[in-house]
Symmetry: C2
Subunit: 286 residues, 2 copies
């Protein structure tokens, strides 16, 4: 098992150092750390991870039936068009869907707004044995909430520490957090928005408000830098996934999940039953 | 589009006639109606359906963003080991997991028992644009509930009509119900239970109570026959899927979903935006 870890030592390559200021302009969105070849080799490499991912997921699920509380939570954040939905489709699509709990966080509903910002997050958490996936997350409450002043400054300021405490409590309760910031460049976002406009089968994804959000790119970048700096903790580090190349993004997210699952090393539970007696009962019936 | 329907005219082959008594002993669980060749050809045929399934799912989802309320609900029922979980893994695994809402119904919780039997079902329904999947369902309330006398006789008797009214209301609200009874033979169940006992990676799925349930096979069969007879309606027919061959079961369930999705023929919505103006705004920025 230990040897296999080394095949994709992505965590070391992509983890943002805890306690250091993040400067996103220092990270190339087109980079391919640990690169599995180019586009077609990368796609094939991702597909090859599928079997191991699904196998480890089954063991995690099986272990939960015997009381193991461990589970995984993939948090996907990134600018519009950075590929959060694409990662769900292509990476989470490799798992057994029955064991995945996917939640896409939208603008809070009136009911959600009446509660603390973590209320709706608690309700969407994976159960023991599950792979949880957040497409956006509680981080929106220090990102768009900050950029658009959706909450008082003091309130937002207090959230970083509360997020850290929340995530540490989750980790203590058996949740392995894999927080991925999908890092795309300003130019790549323009290309993707133009593609959405040009292709009739993509146009429904286009929202003219995306152009207004894009105008705030530097403010969002700053909000991301603060969140990535203040909420990278030993219990729940952030991974920066260069995401201008979709094939690389998928491979990297899949690889990160695989490394974490391998480290968890979930085991099929020992069955608490008399196998010989059960066999005999089944064989003697009409 | 019409031509493509005819490639897998499974609905006609597998649909139980409305208003006729169902006799399960008349149906061969090893049959392969509309058979796509044998095991390996069948598996390949299922895999080939994946692209069309995912493509139609995306359109269904896209249409929902523009107000289309349509969605699909796959109901999977069948004796223990009939392959409900396998169908989710292999068939639903072909879809984008973000658009699937999967619910496995277990024994009702104390809270669920305090409500009407349809209460927990309502909460698990797919939203517009989604593919909902029930691994077991409200039918358990006329199956195990009847076999194990978990509710008064009158109460159970009243449920058939209430299920029909419930499903008709769903259909009127845009839900396409695809109810599949996975039909396995008594012998095949024994083989599958023995395999679970013999394989260390399957043993965790074995529950000695399965042997006791199996002893009630004739009573369950009768309860199924009643449910399939009384709840096959024009709005929500039942499909009998011979399930002794796993490869056939997967192909048939995938094919049924595909036929229904093709009939829905969801369309990408027309974008309500000025494409030229959006292009210009994106191109003139720094």
């Amino acid at each position: 098992m230990a040897k296999k870890h080394d095949e994709t030592p992505l965590r070391g390559l992509l983890r943002l150092p805890v306690g250091e200021s993040v400067d996103l302009s220092a990270h190339d969105a087109r980079a391919t750390p640990g690169r599995p070849g180019g586009k077609s080799a990368g796609r094939a490499a991702t597909a090859r991870l599928g079997k191991d991912l699904a196998g480890l997921q089954e063991r995690l699920w099986a272990a939960a039936t015997a009381g193991d509380r461990r589970r995984m939570l993939l948090v996907l954040q990134g600018m519009d068009t950075s590929g959060k939905g694409g990662a769900v489709k292509h990476v989470i699509g490799l798992f057994n869907p029955a064991g995945c709990r996917i939640h896409a966080f939208k603008a809070p509903t009136p009911e959600e707004r009446r509660h603390d910002f973590l209320w709706r997050v608690e309700k969407a958490l994976p159960q023991p044995g599950e792979i949880g996936i957040f497409d956006r997350s509680h981080y929106e409450d220090v990102l768009i909430a900050k950029v658009r002043s959706l909450a008082p400054r003091d309130e937002i300021e207090s959230r970083y520490d509360r997020i850290n405490a929340f995530e540490e409590a989750l980790a203590d309760d058996g949740v392995t957090l894999v927080k991925c910031f999908l890092h795309i460049s300003y130019d790549e976002q323009r290309r993707r928005l133009l593609r959405r406009l040009d292709r009739p089968d993509k146009r429904w994804k286009f929202d003219p408000r995306d152009i207004e959000e894009r105008a705030l790119w530097p403010v969002y970048r700053q909000a991301y830098e603060t969140a990535l700096t203040r909420c990278a903790t030993p219990a729940a580090p952030w991974y920066l996934v260069p995401a201008d190349h979709k094939w690389y993004r998928n491979w990297a997210v899949a690889g990160l999940l695989l490394e974490h699952l391998r480290e968890l090393d979930p085991r099929y539970p020992e069955a608490d039953l008399d196998v010989a007696e059960c066999r005999a009962r089944l064989l003697k019936e009409p």
